[in-house]
Amino acid sequence: TEACLRACPAACTCSNVERGCSVRCDRAGLQRVPTEFPCEAASIDLDRNGLRILGERAFGTLPSLRCLSLRHNNLSFITPGAFKGLPRLAELRLAHNGELRYLHVRTFAALGRLRRLDLAACRLFSVPERLLAELPALRELTAFDNLFRRVPGALRGLANLTHAHFERSRIEAVASSSLLGMRRLRSLSLQANRVRAVHAGAFGDCVALEHLLLNDNLLASLPAAAFRGLRRLRTLNLGGNALGSVARGWFSDLAELELLYLDRNSITFVEEGAFQNLSGLLALHLNGNRLTVLSWAAFQPGFFLGRLFLFRNPWRCDCHLEWLRDWMEGSGRVADVACASPGSVAGQDLSQVVFERSSDGICVDPDELNFTTFSPGPSPEPVATTVSRFSSLLSKLLAPRAPVEEVANTTWELVNVSLNDSFRSHGVMVMCYKATFLFTSCLWLSLAQYVVLGPQRD
């Protein structure tokens, strides 16, 4: 016990806890790893310091160390062999070292008992194929907030991995070979990436998968065999994508599915029998889509006793949804189904819609609002406008006729004068000649002016 306190580094705080000696050096402003740690150290916390480089055997030999945390440092290079001398290390946290970007293939060599590895927010572009090959005991890999763009190939062959977190790592596709050999994987999180395509059979080897999170990606379609073989899947989240319809074959193998999220897509159509094998479903999320109708055939031949979320859809509350209204009243597991059409029930909740019966006992659809009464409204106005314009045109046409006639008469008289007086025309010709002479002289004058003054401008 005293050894733990005696050998404590200067900037750290050491204490004996239930699981052994705990060395806390977080926020100590360290630029370099302390040279000496207590041999009994079981947990070392070096978070939020200024460490840059880890040399070989950076922590010496600590046979009891189980948890090492180096989060929020400035690590840019980890020497291969930096973690030698830590034979019983079970948890290694390197999160939020944004300068790391690259890991040597033998960075984690000799960590035979490592179970949890945290590489979140390290801005890793890719990792070597065999980076994790010497970690047979690895169970949980946390690597969100990176720049992978593809599911890292280093995952292949990790037979003991159970949890993988790759949120917000800009992954664009799940290829057929991405998840080979991961037979014990139980939880895979690919949410908030840029996945556009999931290849058929991509999850074929993941026979133990229970939670598959693909929400908030860019999926617009899925192959029919996308989820083939996931017989133990319990949670499937496809919310926040761009799916336009729900195909029949997607969920045929998911007999144990409990939670199915299809919210915040663009779904307009659900095929018959799409949910027929989901007998254990507890909640189905179809909210935030573009559904106007939902056929009972989507659940046949089975029946659905879970909770149904249908809000924020443009429902058309006609006789095709009468089954849903009855089911709402009976089970109480559906609420908030706002009608968008027909017009007479727009804005109401489906539970308030009353479906009338005809004499034969057949359901009668609610009425659309009668819009024809408004159509003749605007028609009289253009007619009136046309009439007023026509009348104004008539008045304009009638007004100036008399002056025109008078002008014509005057012209006729002028013609007579010119015909009767032949001697005067001679005088007129003389004056025309003079005028022509004047015009010609003026033109010559202007031309001369232009010729003389033009060069000076240049």
Binding site: A95, H96, A120, A121, T142, F144, H165, E167, S187, S189, Q191, E210, H211, L213, N215, D216, T235, N237, L259, L282, A283, H285, N287, G288, R307, F309, D336, A402, P403, E406, N409, T410, E413, L414, N416, V417, N420, D421, F423, R424, G427, V428, M431, C432, A435, L438, F439, C442, L445, S446, Q449, L453, Q456, R457
Partner: protein
Amino acid sequence: TCPSQCSCEYHGRHEGSGSRSVLCNDLDMNEVPTNLPVDTAKLRIEKTVVRRIPAEAFYYLVELQYLWLTYNSVASIETRSFYNLKQLHELRLDGNSLTEFPWASLLDMPHLRTLDLHNNRITSVTNEAVRYLRNLTCLDLSSNRLTTLPPDFLDSWSHLAMTPSRSPDLPPKRIILGLQDNPWFCDCHISKVIELSKVADHAAVLLDPLMVCSEPEYLQGIAFQRVELEKCLKPSVMMSATKITSALGSNVLLRCDAKGYPTPQLMWTRSDSSPVNATVIQESPGEGVRWSILSLTGITYRDAGDYSCKAKNLAGTSEAVVTVTVVGVATTTLSPDTSERSPGEHPEQNHPQPGLGRSTPQSKSWLWPGLSYTSSHPTSSAAALSTSTLSPPPSSLPPIFSAASATTSVRTSISGSTVRTSHRPPLLHPGGKSNAKIEKNGRKFPPLSASKKEELALMDQAAPMETNITIKDLRVARETGASVTLTWSSSSSSSSSSSSSSSSSSSSSSSSSIQESAVTVLYSKYGEKDLLLVDADYGKNQATINGLEPGSQYVACVCPKGVGPREDQCITFSTDRVEGRDSQWSLLIVVTSSACVIVVPLICFLLYKVCKLQCTSDPFWEDDLSKETYIQFETLSPRSQSIGELWTRRHKDDGEKLLLCSRSSVDSQMNLKSDGHRAEYYC
């Protein structure tokens, strides 16, 4: 499954009876996590950098009861952020950066009892919020930036005051309010809160009764318990009476007076919530006082009941009630029926009269349009006529006049020629004399137009010529610009025959003397008295007058020798050429003016152009001068290369000057070495 930055625990011995708790306290978490376990009952997101709660963030946590979002950086919450949290009991948002809270979101949390907004930056509580606070039992708004509250804020929990009376055995329900540590502006708006801090037993309890005013300045630092607000008084109401009994059919006036600061508003209501359909008059004679009168006319049994007058202002409300009772007798009831019937008859009588009145105006209107139509038509036609009569005169008179004159002249000339043809055959019958006359007539034919016009003038004077006994048919035979030829005929044939015979037998001199002795031809300008004698060759019955001025009128007289001229023997004439010249002159004026209109603007444009060019040329010279000045200035300091180039150029100029100079080579070398000034001096 548990989100990567959270830890999930399950509390409970058995699987079915426990509850799940989720804690997310990663300092690096910046978004509300998705995919939380759906059976979460308690969710804590603490000490993270989450900044906003998106809409419907927790909708799938249908069993959530406790939602703690404490000490994050939340600055933005949407109205639907807490959608579908129907089991939520407690919502804590203290230690965030909220400036406002979406109070309408409380509708989505019907079971919410505790709302903690401590230590945020909320600046106001809206009036609409009052509607949503009803279900809360603990509301903490302490350590915010509130300066005031809606006046009805405490009315949100007015229903709690009713509870003790309904169930006296149960302990009274109370709500807890946290309002301390805010910069309060102590005025009438928060007078109810100030009163609350002074009262010991109230449905609302303050977490910390020590609240201090920040504004106005004279109340700064004073605790609420010791604040006395000026001009802030709860209204008090007085009624004119508490009970009124009135007879059926009579009129009743209810008066209500209210006092308070600010001036209260008055409103009448009935106890059974039926509408008060009566005349209401309100007045405020001064600040702090308002009265209202409710007028009930023709009172009936339906009007009986309780009328309450409510006064309300920022400081509170007050109410007074008056009971109205209606008393009636059977005989009185019958008379109204009779009166009702008689008015019924009157409308029936009046109904046809308005109908008749309506029909009469219709007939009048039917007549009126006809009248207006009739009157408008002649008006328009009259206008057209006036237009036609008015517009032609000024413009078309000269053409009409000239046309008419031309037509008249043509017809007159035709008739004149016919008359001559009838007269000539008897003259042709004599032998030699007839030949001479034929020759003269041949000369007359070519100037037909002039002769036609002269005949027109003669026709005008036909009446006075007939009276002449000695000389007849005096007329203008030929007319030119400066001369006129007159012809006439003698009344006695013997005189004419004697003259002709004597001329043929005797010599030429004797014939001329005979003619001179026969007649005298005189002429003068029109208006002048001086008569001039014609000094031209006299032919028989014709004389030519020369030396006339064109464009003027003349008077010519032919009289026997020895006899003075009389008016009947004279003729006044003015040549048609003068008329033609006048018309030509007018045409000249028109053409000249039109030419000027076209040419003068052109000349002005050319002048403008010339002036513009001259003005632009001057700056050019000024630019040259400035350039020279610039060059001279630069040569004074030849440091940069460009200045060196200029110096070189100047040197070249000096060289040129030296070539023109007749100095010796020695002087030229000295000039090269010396400054430019000296070089100029030597040159």
